[in-house]
Amino acid sequence: MNLSIVTRLMLALALWALPVAGQPSAKAGDAGNGKKLYIADGCYECHGLQGQGGSSAPVGSYGPRLARPKLPVEAIRAYVRHPGGGMPPYTPKVLSDSQIDDIYAFLKTIPAPPPVKDIPLLNE
């Protein structure tokens, strides 16, 4: 099936919104190696060193938050292979499935941020 970029993006975003519980899961990746790959492969450029995300509209919206993903790894893999928007495609030649699993594992280990209500600067 030849999905349009927009369709793929919508699919990925829809999957993103799904709850974690009950999702099929690949074997656990190596979070330590995933962190190295996250830097080496430049994911941090758009998504931040801790996966916090990048810019939002109106000026140059890109790099959504990746930390603590709710998407299953399969959806991440699918999107990484055939992304939309400004994200470049990562083929198996440059990033294997197991490496994606490692990056995914790293993203899962990123600690939750403090609640907004507990950050005074964000409540002024």
Binding site: I5, V6, A40, D41, G42, Y44, E45, C46, G48, L49, Q50, G51, Q52, G53, G54, S55, S56, A57, P58, V59, G60, S61, G63, R65, A67, P83, G84, G85, G86, P88, P89, Y90, T91, K93, V94, L95, P113, P114, P115, V116, I119, L121, L122, N123, E124
Partner: protein, 628 residues
């Protein structure tokens, strides 16, 4: 050049009076006389001085136009004018601002205008100076900002004194930037100079605004004008901006009232503080969502109708999209793939309308005019000048029932606005304690310290800081930010911030500059200019040690070429060695703080910096940050 009439008249008048003046003017006699000898009277007097050069008249012209400052790197081609500024003109209106690069001079003028609303005067060599200045002129042109540039030149080859005079002379100086200026002239007389300056000022300031260039020939500026009574300066007449015709305005008003899901998108709308007030009135009248694209301070970011963060969805679902001076209307209503194979498609079925004076400044060579987009209604007029009549037309056509319907729409928009703000705070909480410092944390810490001041963000409100100021701060007044460079040319930010700070100085405003490292390194000498002229400015470095935008571009190319992106840092990083910007600032004579890489250290550093800025000095705080 044929000898100028004015110059010849001036020279003849002067020489005819030279013998009478010889006793009081230090001249050298061509034929020396031995004591006690009779000889023929001297046939030639070498004129070495004059009390009144043509440059003085040029200063009179500049004073008549009300220039406050002239930014320049000194240049021999305009030495007479510079001397007249500081001596004849008293170095006041205009006051000479010493710049270390002509790009800085023009970019300072760019930032200055967006606060002051008046053009900056800039002097530059017609050759080497203009080439340095050209990038900043292009930025100003793309951003529709007037800068008044005066070029020194020595067109008359017979009077060039050195080899350097030759390499610094040019037949048609403005040709270098004619593709991205609105008007230029190379006057051959002082009378023409005065007339052309007044014309250029008027042209530059009439929307759509843009830079203008005048050549001040060295021969004109250095020629004596003693006794000249014929030199006059025309009165400046300010032209009203082009407004949309009444029929088109009425049609647009009808479309807006009937629309169920309109969206108003503002680009370079607000030329003056009135622009924001007009847009607020229109939006509230229609209860329409507004997208402020960020290239001007068009609409308060915390206004309940501001849905800028939802721009794509709004356009997709709209039945009417109204663009107000939107530079890239095609990009607004189309989706353009960034992948290897080009594709683009319209994302909306909405009717499209725009008000823009952009076509009135259409040039062919440089492609800043963007891709053509067919629309349903196009008003080739200045949007700010047209909005008052549009507001009145809407009021006249709006009945009570429709007004009540629109209020319900406004309530829904307000809910969406609140959700955007909640999401922004949640997004900012991620990586809150990270080191290097997240840009969201940097902007939050900065906001906490300036929010009770009368502040102006003079640089980096947009993409290079992931829009965090617009997502977290309260931009409630027309001067809260001044937009971006226009031409996306690096090197704009630092000098534009200094220029804006110069304009804010007399207003007592705290000018803030979130300064990217790559931009500063183009011409860091502007820090010295700020220190030398005591221009109060708080610069907070967003020091991410790379040209990250370009690194991402290389990443895209590398992945499209199936090679992986591990080497994308080559040619895009600014490390090894890391640059210590605090020390750089100190070397320029201003307070430098940092480098800071722990978020907990930010608040005391910013407080200390603000205290110093309030004493009238520039300060730089070096903060090591995440990429975006």
């Amino acid at each position: 050049m044929s000898k100028s009439e004015d110059a010849n008249v001036g020279r003849r008048n002067f020489l005819s009076n030279a013998a009478a003046l010889a006793a009081s003017v230090p001249v050298a006699l061509a034929a020396a006389q031995a004591p006690g000898q009779e000889s023929a009277p001297p046939t030639k007097v070498e004129v070495q001085t004059t009390d009144r050069p043509g440059a003085d008249f040029m200063i009179d012209v500049f004073k008549s136009l009300g220039f406050e400052y002239v930014c320049a790197n000194p240049g021999s081609a305009f030495r007479a004018i510079q001397e007249s500024v500081v001596n004849y003109g008293g170095n006041s209106k205009p006051e000479f601002i010493t710049c270390c690069h002509e790009e800085s001079s023009v970019a300072m003028g760019h930032g200055y205008f967006k606060v002051e609303g008046k053009p900056m005067l800039v002097f530059a060599h017609g050759t080497v100076g203009l080439q340095h200045a050209s990038m900043a002129i292009y930025n100003a042109f793309c951003d529709r900002v007037p800068v008044f540039i005066v070029l020194g030149n020595n067109l008359n080859a017979a009077t060039r004194r050195s080899s350097v005079d030759w390499v610094h002379s040019v037949q048609d100086a403005p040709s270098l930037v004619r593709d991205f200026t609105k008007f230029d002239d190379s006057p051959v007389s002082l009378s023409q100079f005065a007339e052309s300056c007044v014309r250029a000022y008027k042209v530059a300031m009439t929307a759509p605004s843009a830079p203008v260039v005048l050549v001040a020939d060295a021969e004109l500026s250095e020629t004596p004008i003693v006794g000249r009574t014929d030199l006059t300066i025309p009165k400046l007449t300010r032209a009203s901006p082009p407004a949309g015709d009444s029929a088109a305005v009425a049609e647009l008003a009808g479309m807006l009232i009937e629309s169920q899901n309109p969206v108003i998108v503002a680009g370079r709308l607000a030329r003056t503080p009135d622009g924001m007030a007009h847009l607020v009135e229109l939006a509230e009248l229609l209860q329409s969502p507004v997208v402020d694209s960020g290239v001007r301070m068009n609409f308060p970011n915390r206004h309940r109708l501001n849905l800028s963060a939802n721009s794509r969805a709004l356009v997709e679902n709209a039945d009417l999209v109204l663009g107000l001076e939107v530079p890239d209307f095609y990009g607004l209503v189309n989706s353009i793939s960034r992948q290897l194979e080009y594709s683009a498609h319209l994302i909306t079925k909405a009717k499209l309308a725009c008000i823009s004076a952009g076509d009135r400044l259409a040039k062919s060579n440089y492609q800043e005019f963007q891709r053509y987009q067919a629309v349903d209604l196009d008003l080739a007029a200045d949007a700010e000048a047209t909005l008052p009549s549009l507001v009145e037309a809407v009021k006249q056509r709006m009945n009570g029932g429709r007004r009540r319907d629109l209020e319900a729409r406004g309530a829904k928009i307000a809910q969406q606005h609140a959700a955007i703000w909640a999401k922004a705070r949640l997004d900012a909480s991620y990586a809150w304690d990270a080191s290097p410092v997240s840009v969201a944390r940097l902007c939050s810490e900065l906001w906490a310290q300036i929010r009770n001041e009368d502040w102006c963000l003079a640089n980096s409100s947009g993409i290079f800081v992931s829009n965090w100021p617009l997502r977290l701060w309260d931009f409630d007044k027309p001067y809260r930010h001044i937009g971006g460079s226009g031409g996306a040319g690096m090197g704009y930010g630092a000098p534009a911030a200094v220029g804006a700070a110069l304009a804010n100085k007399k207003r007592g405003r705290l000018t803030v500059n979130i300064q990217t490292d790559g931009d500063l390194m183009y011409a860091p000498g502007v820090l010295w200019t700020a220190a030398h002229h005591r221009i109060p400015l708080l610069t907070v470095m967003h020091n991410n040690r790379a040209y990250h935008q370009e690194m991402m571009e290389v990443q895209v190319a590398a992945n499209q070429h199936n090679r992986g992106i591990e080497r994308a840092h080559i040619g895009t990083s600014i490390d090894d060695p890391n640059i210590n910007y605090a020390k750089l600032a100190e070397s320029m004579g201003m307070m430098g703080i940092g480098p800071i890489d722990k978020p907990g250290d930010l608040a005391p550093a910013i407080r200390r910096g603000i205290e110093t800025v309030k004493r009238g000095e520039p300060v730089l705080i070096d903060v090591v940050t995440q990429p975006r």
